[in-house]
């Protein structure tokens, strides 16, 4: 469905942020395959597709690389993909979310609630344009 292999990318300052993790385990156990073993990126202030699973290769590039979902549907999935309730996905609102195990929706927080820690990375940017 998507081009092979799945590719994702972060800006260097995003990747160096203490909240951006490379996970090898989950709940004190080694990471199961379905959660992206052996190595998975976790970027908690972005939409889930940025948190690439089962990483086999990491490269440092001078130019912004093409990333899987952004390439396949650029109007729907931006490069930054920061959680932003004010920016709709073209086909649905992203103002409210339903957490796993909860049936009711709750309001979605900017940067998934990590605004205090990460908003500074995007100072001066128009996040409605760079979604």
């Amino acid at each position: 469905v998507l081009g092979w292999p799945y590719r994702e990318a972060l800006r260097l300052d995003e990747a160096l942020h203490p909240l951006a993790l490379l996970a090898t385990g989950l709940y004190g156990k080694p990471l199961p395959n379905q959660n992206g073993a052996p190595l998975r990126l976790v970027v908690p202030w972005k939409y889930g597709f940025k948190s690439i699973k089962a990483i086999t290769r990491v490269r440092l590039t001078a130019e912004r690389p093409r990333t899987s979902w952004n390439e396949s549907a650029p109007s729907e999935y931006g490069f930054y993909a920061n959680v932003n309730p004010a920016v709709d996905h073209p086909r649905w609102t992203q103002a409210r979310e339903r957490r796993v195990g909860e049936f009711r929706r709750r309001p979605t927080l900017p940067f998934n609630g990590y605004g205090e820690q990460v908003a500074g990375l995007y100072a001066g940017m128009d996040l409605a344009r760079d979604y």
Binding site: V1, R91, V100, R105
Partner: protein, 210 residues
């Protein structure tokens, strides 16, 4: 053979009602937290997909009755076409209710905004609206009142519903278009059959059956 013909109605009713019963039980178990995993990580989305597909399938079953009668002579189906069509309306309505009540939690302003803003929601809503007069005029009384071919002409709206529902499905898909493609092919066959046989039917009013 007579017994089989008599069992056809109840069998088709079960065939139509059973998926709803299963979904209702699943929703109950998820909602009450007894089996929170039963409908996957996105239970509401799972219900939307299931009910939307059921609606499309029953539109297809309804449209399959006429070709099956003509080609295989399965005329016993004719008496049950209304039920198949009403199941299509039923599942389309459940689909819409799940969307408005469970997905958008009855924030009616939001529902209205989404219907206007998102083309696939607009098309889906229009398709459901087109089903309403068909369901209303499905009774014997209305069939009689709309005599002289008017009932048949009105119920050709089903073709528009088939197209609209399929477009709604295509536009709602993220990337994998296999399933909408399957429905497109099925509807193309069912509508294409009518188009190809329209001339031979024009001279034979006895078999006019939409």
């Amino acid at each position: 053979m007579r017994g089989a013909a008599r069992a056809l109605g109840p069998a088709l009713f079960l065939f139509g009602a059973l998926p709803f019963a299963v979904l209702a039980v699943q929703l109950f178990l998820v909602y009450t937290g007894r089996r929170p995993d039963l409908l996957g990580a996105e239970p509401v989305e799972a219900l939307e997909h299931a009910t939307g597909q059921l609606a499309l399938r029953f539109v297809a079953f309804t449209l399959a009755v006429t070709p099956l009668r003509r080609i295989f002579g399965w005329n016993a189906l004719a008496r049950h076409r209304r039920m198949l069509g009403l199941f299509a309306f039923f599942y389309a309505t459940v689909h819409l209710v799940v969307y408005a009540a469970l997905d958008l939690e009855l924030q009616l302003g939001e529902v209205a905004a989404e219907i206007v803003k998102r083309p696939y929601i607009t098309v889906g809503t229009l398709s459901w609206l087109a089903l309403v007069p068909l369901a209303v005029t499905s009774t014997r009384g209305w069939v009689r009142r709309l005599s002289g071919g008017r009932w048949l002409r009105l119920h050709r709206l089903t073709y528009a519903v088939a197209v609209g529902g399929t477009v709604h499905f295509w536009w709602s898909v993220k990337k994998d278009v296999t399933e909408p493609l399957v429905y497109t092919i099925v509807f193309a066959v069912l509508l294409g059959y009518r188009w190809l046989t329209r001339r031979s039917r024009a001279g034979a009013p006895g078999v006019a059956a939409g």
